[in-house]
Amino acid sequence: MRITCPICGERDRREFYYQGAAVALDRPAPDAGPQAWDDYVHLRDNPAGRTRDLWFHEMGCGAWIVVERDTVIHEVYSTELAEKAAR
């Protein structure tokens, strides 16, 4: 598996650390209520198909990257710096 770091270019999967679903970028408002915060902290989908993950280019430039990929066929559709995706 190869992942394209928006800064470094296409790199071997070994250089990256997998963090999990990219929901971490969608932090609820402080007053969103317990249900929204419970979902945000604890609940994750487990999709067979397209998913958005956060990956860390740990052995490379140190960027956090949003990777959209397919868990069934392992195709990577897009990558984007998390700092841009979060805006």
């Binding site: 470094c8 790199r11 071997d12 250089e15 280019h57 052995m59 490379g60 430039c61 140190g62």
Partner: protein, 179 residues
């Protein structure tokens, strides 16, 4: 008062050579990371320019032997053997002199040795003199810069210096044996 003896990270381990390639230690007077604050990239570049070593773009290194500015990751430059005057208020500046070990791999077939250790295409057609990358050497995070046609400088965390030398020795012996 105890008299302390300064030792370099690879002291007693290097240099050595196998076949056409040698591995030796590079000692810079200082290593300093420079991380420009948000919106201060241009101002930092102006300071670099005035000091005579252009600020390197992503994946590039500027300067010369003994005095380099090396792109060192997202939003970070490593000054090797260069002083960092005039950056107050423009960048986070951190002394890293005791954090890293630097080695030089030199000679015909140097890239064949790196091909065994690094998951990145370092062929001279795509990774030219002045190009640099953050990647890994076996399991160790590293900075690799091509400083000549068959010369590379590799920077690794100082605590892993002995392991780095060991990995290179194995790869260098294997490549030499197949010539």
């Amino acid at each position: 008062m105890v008299k302390l003896v300064a030792k370099t990270p690879c002291e007693g381990l290097l240099p050595f050579s196998y076949g056409t390639v040698s591995l030796s230690e590079v000692t810079y007077d200082s290593l300093t990371s420079v991380a420009p604050f948000v919106g201060k990239n241009k101002a930092v570049a102006d300071v670099f320019k005035a000091a005579g070593t252009p600020m390197p773009a992503v994946g590039r290194a500027t300067g010369k032997d003994g005095q380099r500015a090396i792109w060192f990751g997202r939003g970070q430059i490593l000054l090797a053997g260069l002083t960092e005057e005039g950056l107050e208020g423009l960048a986070a500046v951190t002394d890293q002199s005791d954090a890293w070990a630097v080695v030089r791999l030199e000679g015909e077939n140097a890239d064949a040795i790196l091909a065994r250790l690094v998951p990145l295409d370092l062929d001279k057609g795509v990774f030219k003199r002045g190009h640099t990358a953050r990647t890994q050497v076996q399991h160790m995070m590293a900075s690799i810069t091509r400083t000549g046609v068959q010369t590379f400088e590799i920077i690794i965390m100082q605590s892993m210096a002995r392991t780095l030398v060991h990995e290179f020795e194995i790869a260098m012996k294997a490549v030499a044996a197949r010539r």
